[in-house]
Structures are given as C-alpha cells and as structure tokens.
C-alpha cells in the first residue's frame, strides 16, 4: 500500500512534508543554532544573520525555539493517534465476533465517549492530574477512539458476512485465521485513513492546549505557545505569528492530504485508478519512440 500511495503526486507531497516535520522533531534540538531558553537584550529583534527569524519579547532566538518546540507537538499528536488506534480498533474488530454482550457494551461506551467534548476534557484532566502534556494526550486519544472503533467495526462487518469468509470457515478456518487472512486487509486502508486524519486532529489539539498554556511549563518552547506569545506583540512584529501558524497549518494539511491519498488507492476503486494510470503510462512508453507530431 505504501508503494501505491507514493504513486500519487499528492501522496508523495504529503509524505515528504511529514518526513521533514518528523526529522525536525527528532533532530530539532541539535539543529537549533542557539539555546532556545537563553534570553538576551535584543528583544523583539528583526530577522538578521544571527537570528534568522528574529527574537521574541525576552530576546530568545525564534528559530531555535521553533525547532526545539517541534518535538512536543509531533510526539503529542502521535500519542493521540496511537492511543486512539489501540483503544478503538481492537474492540472494533472484536465487537463483530465476541457476541452480543460485548457488542452492546462497547457500542454504549463509544456513544458516551462521543458525547464528551475532548478539548474541555483534556483541560480538566490537566487540572486534575497536574500539568503534563502526556496525560492530556492520552485522555484525548481515548476520547477520539470512537472514530477508530466505528471505522474498523464497519469494515469488519462488511467482510464478516461475505461468502468468502463463510467459505474459509467451512474449510475449518479459525477466527484468528479469518481476521488475519481476510478481514485485516480490508480493514487496514480505512484505519490508515483514520490514523492520518487523527494525527492532524492531534496536532490541532496539542497546538490549542499549548496555545492556552496548558500542558507545558512556560519557559519550554512549543508551536502553540510561540503563536500565543507572538500574538501579544503584533504591533511590534506583525509577521511573527506567521511562522508557527504556517507550520501548524502545513502539517495538518499534509496529514489530511495523506489520508485522501490512502483512501484513493485502497479498495476496488483504488486498484482501478492505479491500473488506469499504469495502462496510460504503458501507452505513453509505447508511443514514446514514435515521431512527434504524428496524427493520432
């Protein structure tokens, strides 16, 4: 499936953008040219040779703070997505097979989770358990897990009633075999789509929380926190909020683009799409040596 996604231009762009962001998250702190916490007398400075993106109200280097802050945002959003994946997918698939009671309980639980506003809940959890992005993101992950539960349950239901699964059962296949061999392949693409979407949503949540100053102690840099503090000095540096805002927007956009690309290449429609592209490519190859300008 990875190869199929990369066959699409939009898939390539999305993967490239996300790879850059991921590299920033891993190597950001080392790449930072200066100490992100070091203050200086040069407050609210314009972009210069030593400070590429200028300095903030305490004279700290903005570029260094952005690079250092990327880790919190990326890790936070991944944490949301992976928590939601584990908490949602497993009961989603099992709800089809484990009998009525399990199905009923998990369905009611997801209904309850959907009813809770996750941003408010995350704020409340931070207030209760103390200031930490990890706890807040874990809770958010659980709260957005109904998406995964529903997506995986719907896909599994569609496969579970199909004749080829019955054929496998008639041959003596166990439940585990059926899930591994038939269900998994059909459930994976919609889950991948949901995962890419959720990473984007997680990003927005991390940014929102840090924007509000929740989850991270003040001197530590985050994208949301940078955006918030830059907004306070709009009159002095009107262009400053652009960089963190742009970073957030581009990352979320890349996640959604990736989700679309995965959806486009999966399933019957995806196969047809790729086949038609392949056929067209072959035609062009064959037509390649033909003299240019020939009537077609």
């Amino acid at each position: 499936m990875v190869r199929r996604v990369l066959a699409l231009p939009s898939g390539r762009i999305a993967v490239a953008v996300l790879a850059v962001i991921a590299l920033l998250a891993v190597f950001g702190p080392w790449l930072a040219p200066q100490d992100p916490l070091a203050t200086s007398g040069n407050t609210l400075g314009a972009a210069s040779g030593s400070h590429w993106l200028g300095t903030d109200y305490l004279g700290r280097d903005v570029l260094s703070r952005l690079l250092d802050g990327s880790r919190v945002s990326v890790l936070g959003s991944l944490e949301v997505a992976l928590t939601a994946l584990v908490v949602g997918v497993i009961p989603g698939i099992l709800s089809v097979y484990l009998g009525r009671a399990f199905e009923w309980i998990t369905l009611r639980l997801t209904d309850t989770l959907v009813a809770l506003p996750f941003l408010l809940f995350a704020v409340a959890v931070v207030a209760l358990l103390g200031n930490g992005i990890t706890q807040a993101m874990l809770v958010t992950g659980v709260l957005v897990s109904p998406l995964f539960y529903r997506v995986s349950r719907a896909a599994t239901l569609a496969v579970a009633r199909s004749p080829y699964v019955e054929a496998a059962l008639i041959s003596g296949a166990s439940l585990g075999w059926v899930v591994r061999r038939h269900v998994w392949v059909k459930v994976l693409p919609p889950i991948a789509v949901a995962l890419a979407q959720t990473v984007g949503v997680g990003f927005v949540i991390v940014s929102s929380l840090t924007f509000l100053g929740i989850g991270v102690q003040p001197p530590a840099p985050t994208w949301g926190g940078l955006l918030a503090s830059d907004l306070g000095y709009l009159s002095q540096r009107p262009w400053a909020p652009l960089t963190p805002a742009l970073l957030i927007v581009v990352t979320v956009w890349a996640c959604n683009l990736l989700a679309d690309a995965i959806r486009d290449v999966s399933g019957e429609a995806g196969r047809a799409l790729l086949n038609s592209r392949k056929a067209r490519a072959n035609q062009i190859d064959e037509a390649g040596p033909a003299p240019a300008g020939g009537a077609s």
Binding site: S162, P163, Y164, E166, A167, A168, L169, I170, S171, G172, A173, S174, W177, R181, H182, V185, K186, E268, R271
Partner: protein, 288 residues
C-alpha cells in the same frame, strides 16, 4: 413404457455407509413469538458418489438445509450424520475439527462474491489446504496438479478474481471446494449465473467428479438445471420434502402437485400449449 409402480420415497436403507443422513431434521429461525419454522421433518440420505438434486423455490428452505449441514445454522431438532459423525449438537470446536478434515465442501451461488477480491487465484485455492496445516509448498503443488480437472490454466493463478470471466470464477470456486478431496460437495445454484457454454462446462466437470466417487448435493430452483446430473431428486416445498425419487421417475411421473408444476414450468424445447392450462390448474390446487 415404464410399467413399474414408482415409490415416492426411496433409499433410506443405505444409511450405514452414507456420507450424509438427515433424520427428522427441523430448523426454526427467531425466538419465542417470532419463531418461524423453516424446515420440518426432513429425511434424506446420500450415498457415496451419489448426486442428489434438491429443488425448491425461494424461501422453501433449500439454502437453510445446506447451511444446517455445514454447521452455519443450528438445527432445532432431528439428527444430522456427516461421514459417520452425529453433528447436530456440535459446538464450534468440534465443527472446526470436522471441517478441517475437508470431508464436506460448499460452492456458493455468486462466484464473484465467494472469492476474496484481494487474494490471487493461487491463494484462494490454497486456503483450504493451508487451514488443514498442509505446508505452503505442498499446497501449491497440489493446487497446480488440480487445475486440469477444472479446465483452468496456470497463468490464471496470479490473477485476482476481478480479472477473471464469470465462467472462470465459478470454476475457481468449484476448484477451491475440491482441493481437499471431499467426499461430499454441496453446490448452491452453481450454474444459474452462467451462460450456455460455461454452464455445460461446469456441468461436465461435476459429472466427472461424480464418476470419481464424490457425492454431490445440487441445490436449485430449476428442475431443468439438475436433470442432467442428478441420480435422485428431492423436492422441497414450504420447508418439507414433498417428494424424493430417482431423477427419471420424478421428472417423468411427478406425484406431488408442486413437483408437477415444477416439471410443467421448466423451460423445455418441446412445450405444448396444453401445458398452460395444466399449470393454471396446478397453481389453483396449490393455493387452495
């Protein structure tokens, strides 16, 4: 021409070595007040290598009969003996053990939907063997050795079901049911979705199978589509077996009014205008 009196039911005595014996089988759907009777007191025995056609209209319970024998639907009464084992009270584990022996297989009506669209022909065909624990390499050779019997070529093995014609798909579905060398194969309308040439080809394959000693249960709404291959015919009407007998007898001298209507309704090349009046009379009789 035929002078002997034709017994309405025949062949209950061979149950000792039968591959399938149903006695007093009944099935209900739903619970309590919504409980509906789907099958009632069905008695049928199938000898090794015998081909039996089960004929019935939509809703007559013919698919339920097949699904009960395969353990997909629970019987509410009576006994089902498959290959010498009483299976009516079996739980999931016992069913799985029985199925892994590959004694009974099933061919679905719709060949497109009965093959996983994401598995190649080779993978679909190997599945029943892999489930039994046959090593991958051996399964592949056994699948290859099998292709000839169902008129499939090796170059189809790497294709997906979506890339096959309707006739090829149905032959793959038949092949998948046969790789475990079952003693009994149940086929649900295996040729209804096929055109003439493919229909003849699949029926020919089934005939050869019967000659190899495999017992076949051929389920259809159309007496005509089983007439060419069935030794015996059982007619299911509203959940009950109303007539069982040798194919020739059932078709040439049907006893029950519904069987008579079936014979008169099946499209034949030599139908007479008088059939129309007879059909009207039989319909009136059945609806009375």
């Amino acid at each position: 021409m035929s002078a002997d009196a034709i017994p309405c039911t025949r062949g209950g005595g061979m149950s000792t070595d039968a591959v399938l014996t149903l006695e007093g089988l009944s099935v209900h759907y739903g619970a309590r007040r919504r409980r509906r009777r789907v099958l009632h007191d069905v008695n049928l025995s199938i000898a090794p290598g015998e081909t039996v056609g089960v004929i019935g209209e939509t809703g007559s319970g013919k698919s339920t009969l097949a699904r009960t024998v395969l353990g997909l639907v629970r019987a509410s009464g009576g006994s089902i003996v498959v290959d010498g084992e009483e299976v009516a009270g079996y739980g999931p584990r016992q069913w799985r053990a029985l199925r892994r022996r590959g004694v009974v297989q099933y061919v679905f009506q719709d060949p497109l939907r009965s093959l996983d669209p994401d598995l190649t022909v080779a993978d679909s065909l190997a599945e029943p063997l892999l489930v039994q624990g046959v090593p991958r390499a051996e399964a592949a050779t056994r699948v290859r050795a099998f292709l000839d019997r169902v008129r499939l070529t090796e170059d189809l093995l790497d294709r997906l079901p979506g890339e096959l014609s309707g006739g090829q798909r149905q032959r793959v579905a038949v092949a998948r049911a046969l790789v475990t060398e079952p003693r009994l194969v149940i086929l649900d309308e295996p040729v209804s979705a096929l055109d003439s040439a493919n229909r003849v080809q699949v029926l020919q394959i089934l005939k050869e199978l019967r000659d190899d000693g495999v017992a076949l249960v051929f389920i259809s709404h159309d007496l005509g589509s089983v007439a060419g291959v069935a030794d015996r015919i059982a007619v299911l009407y509203r959940g009950e077996l109303v007539e069982t007998g040798a194919a020739r007898d059932v078709i040439a001298a049907p006893q029950h009014p519904y069987t008579r209507l079936l014979v008169r309704s099946a499209p034949t090349l030599h139908s007479a205008p008088a059939d129309r009046a007879e059909r009207d009379a039989l319909r009136a009789l059945l609806h009375a």
